[in-house]
């Protein structure tokens, strides 16, 4: 059934543009997979700013630094196909506000999270109605934040957290897209960004928290450069992976981590990490190394978060001084 509340396109539907270079599969190596120029434990820079949306009680805008290939493509555009993309999202917090009369009594703050991709956020056009993956992200985000907020301070109230993703991470390199049935790795980066941004927005709304929770991603990738040399491809642990830059990601992990309490509120681990023995002397299990890596990535994001929240606090202090 067509959506009568929105303006629909042609009834027969439309097709995304097909580029000539992707048709010539044999000689399709005109463009190369973007390469990771960072060290395995080097994170992308994060731009995080609070208070951009004055009508909300708290808000944050988060943007990842574009990868080297994307930055090059931006400055001197050659191809209309972007090599990779960088996360951009806006988060708003409304509340604490009274629950509607119809709601049952709750002694705690009721947290609701909405994550929505903009229709132009990904390589494939997204629908206007939230799909299952977006709802899934919302649930993950809720569990990550529920452990952080001191919920019993606001009985009978609700807190709405809304995240609009303006640009999402790619799930894989676009050149691989037709034949790979990989897990959507980009979602994990998006979740880590959501957690960090939501944490900043909650602090901006002056909701009591145990600590600032930060999101981090680590992945075990089998390096294709080593495979080309003929070596048996040894899987490596990489922090803050951009899925477009790696040929195959064996497993990945997102954590929501509170550094001051050394606590993890949410963990999401995906993929096969049993085969990955990281180094000969390293006998530690794959998943432990993976979680440690993700925690390290979260620590990195936490430093940015602290700066953003300090800025928000200073702005608030200045505001209340000028008011009185």
């Amino acid at each position: 059934m067509t959506d009568r509340r929105r303006i629909n396109g042609p009834p027969s539907g439309t097709r995304p543009a097909v580029f000539a270079s992707s048709l010539k599969s044999a000689s399709g190596a005109a463009t190369e997979r973007p390469r990771r120029h960072r060290q395995p434990n080097e994170l992308r820079k994060i731009f995080l700013k609070t208070g951009l949306i004055p009508s909300a009680s708290g808000s944050a805008y988060l943007e990842y630094e574009p990868s080297a290939s994307l930055a090059a493509a931006r400055s001197s555009p050659q191809s209309l196909i972007p090599p990779s993309s960088a996360l951009k999202l806006a988060c708003t917090v409304h509340g604490p506000k009274p629950l509607p009369r119809s709601a049952t009594f709750s002694p705690n703050l009721v947290l609701t999270t909405h994550v929505k991709y903009a229709p132009f956020a990904a390589r494939q056009r997204k629908g206007h109605i939230r799909d299952a993956s977006e709802r899934d992200l919302g649930v993950h985000l809720e569990t990550a934040l529920r452990g952080v907020i001191v919920a019993e301070r606001w009985p009978k109230s609700g807190l709405d957290i809304t995240i609009t993703i303006l640009e999402a991470e790619d799930d894989r390199w676009w050149g691989d897209a037709p034949d790979s049935h990989d897990a959507p790795w980009g979602m994990m980066n998006v979740l880590a960004g959501c957690i960090t941004a939501a944490s900043a927005a909650i602090a901006d709304a002056r909701i009591d928290c145990l600590d600032l929770v930060a999101g981090g991603v680590a992945a075990i990738v089998s390096d294709d450069a080593a495979a080309e040399e003929g070596n048996s491809s040894t899987p490596k642990l990489m922090l803050d992976t951009d899925p477009a830059e790696h040929k195959s990601i064996l497993s990945a992990c997102v954590v929501a981590y509170m550094p001051a309490r050394d606590e993890i509120t949410e963990i999401w681990l995906k993929g096969d990490h049993s085969k990955a023995s990281l180094g000969v002397d390293d006998s530690s299990l794959g998943h432990e190394a993976l979680i440690d890596g993700a925690v390290n990535a979260a620590r990195g994001a936490h430093t940015v978060l602290v700066e953003a929240v300090r800025e928000s606090a200073e702005r608030y202090a200045g505001l209340s001084n000028s008011d009185s």
Binding site: R5, R6, I7, N8, G9, P10, P11, S12, G13, T14, R15, P16, A17, V18, F19, A20, S21, L23, L52, I53, P54, S55, A56, S59, L70, P77, Q78, S79, L80, I81, P82, S85, A86, K88, A90, C91, T92, V93, H94, K97, H114, K116, A118, P119, F120, A121, A122, R123, R125, H128, R130, D160, I161, T162, I163, T164, L166, E167, D323, S324
Partner: protein, 383 residues
């Protein structure tokens, strides 16, 4: 110690007074007591005819053909244009309707103005422009995220669609993907069977194989009044930024194929630069909105004019209202103007909610909108 200072009188900080008595607060700002010698300003510090500072930024979103972020004060609109292809084989009525419109098209190819008629109808008939505005982004407390679009969002989407159609901003020619049918055999044969096979082949062997459909999605990230102006400016900036890849019909694969080279991509050639400016009317009488609407008779008009002569203003027309002012006024005016060769062209004029603005005042508003056109044009050209 207790006797040294009298208990402080009950005072309210301005922000609380604004919440408790919004109407009186704005009125006090607009009509300060004559003794205080203060200028009449709005609560946000602007002149009645002053717009909020505006900034625009284009081309920052990776997965779009064109994108723009426009901030008007605290209202932020993000617009992304995505182009997808609609093959004519997918259009159910194509073979029937094309024959007639093609004939019209061919007759008028020499005249550009007449050609526009066919253009417009094709964009409208085939829904080639698909604007959708979303307010459920947490932009303001009232809008529930995840719910279907609110009445305001639906109305704004349709206003934008209507304006896109009525201004004929996008040319249909930019959206067509042509195919030159190779002529096998001599020209003489072509002429013979052209009469039987319909109009298509007579059109110099060219036929339309597909159309670009532009999905124009506007996310209002932050809403502080006057969403329409910001959304329309974002649409305009994003369309100016839009590049369509060169597309051609690949006869071997029987599909439309695009070139990824940026140098071959073409920008849209837009018709004019229509720019929207909105106004609202603030009445000094707080109950004006509640009363039964009565057309002021001649006596009343005289009284109002007399008051104005004495410097007692009863109503103010506020340009670019913010959320606070929008909540306090009933009457709205929206003007969309364009300027061609120094002349102001009114593209759209909409006024509702009251009787205050008359012809004389509308003329003044058009002048203000023309000034706004100049300033916004500079902003859009710089980004």
């Amino acid at each position: 110690m207790a006797s040294s200072a009298p208990p402080p009188a009950l005072t309210l900080p301005p922000s609380q007074f604004a919440r408790l008595q919004p109407h009186a607060y704005l009125l006090a700002h607009l009509s300060p007591p004559a003794a205080s010698n203060q200028p009449s300003l709005r609560a946000n510090g602007r002149q009645p005819a002053q717009f909020r500072p505006t900034s625009a930024n284009t081309g920052s979103l990776t997965h779009t053909n064109g994108s723009a972020v426009v901030r008007v004060g605290d209202t932020t609109a993000v617009c992304g244009v995505r182009a997808e292809l609609l093959p004519t084989s997918d259009i159910a009525s194509w073979s029937v309707s094309h024959a007639s419109s093609g004939a019209k098209h061919r007759q008028n190819t020499t005249k550009n103005d007449a050609d526009a008629d066919a253009d417009e109808s094709q964009i409208q008939d085939l829904n080639l422009l698909v604007p959708n505005l979303s307010l459920s982004t947490g932009c303001a407390p009232g809008f529930v995220p995840g719910a279907p679009p609110s009445a305001l969002a639906q109305s704004l989407s349709h206003q934008i669609l209507g304006l896109l159609h009525s201004t004929r901003l996008v040319r249909a020619e930019d959206l067509r993907v042509w195919y030159q049918v190779p002529s096998f055999g001599g020209d003489g044969d072509m002429d013979v069977d052209a009469d039987d096979e319909g109009q298509k082949k007579k059109n110099d062997g060219k036929e339309i194989k597909a159309f670009w459909v532009l999905y124009i999605d506007i996310m209002i990230i932050s809403l502080a009044g006057n969403a329409f102006d910001a959304a329309w400016a974002a649409v305009l900036a994003a369309l100016r930024d839009t590049r369509l890849p060169r597309a051609w019909w690949d006869a071997d694969n029987e599909m439309v194929v695009c070139s990824e080279t940026v140098a071959e991509a073409t920008r849209l050639s837009l018709r004019g630069l229509p720019i929207a400016s909105s106004f609202c009317v603030f009445e000094a009488d707080a109950a004006a909105g509640w009363r039964a609407v009565i057309v002021p008779d001649a006596e009343e008009e005289k009284k109002i004019e007399e008051d104005q002569r004495r410097g007692m203003q009863r109503r103010w027309i506020l340009a670019d209202p913010d959320g606070y002012e929008e909540g306090l006024s009933q009457e709205r005016v929206c003007l969309v103007v364009d300027r061609e060769m120094g002349k102001t062209v009114i593209v759209k004029m909409e006024k509702n909610g009251g009787w205050a603005v008359d012809g004389r005042e509308l003329k003044q508003l058009v002048d203000i909108a023309a000034e706004r056109w100049e300033s916004l044009k500079l902003i859009l050209e710089q980004c």
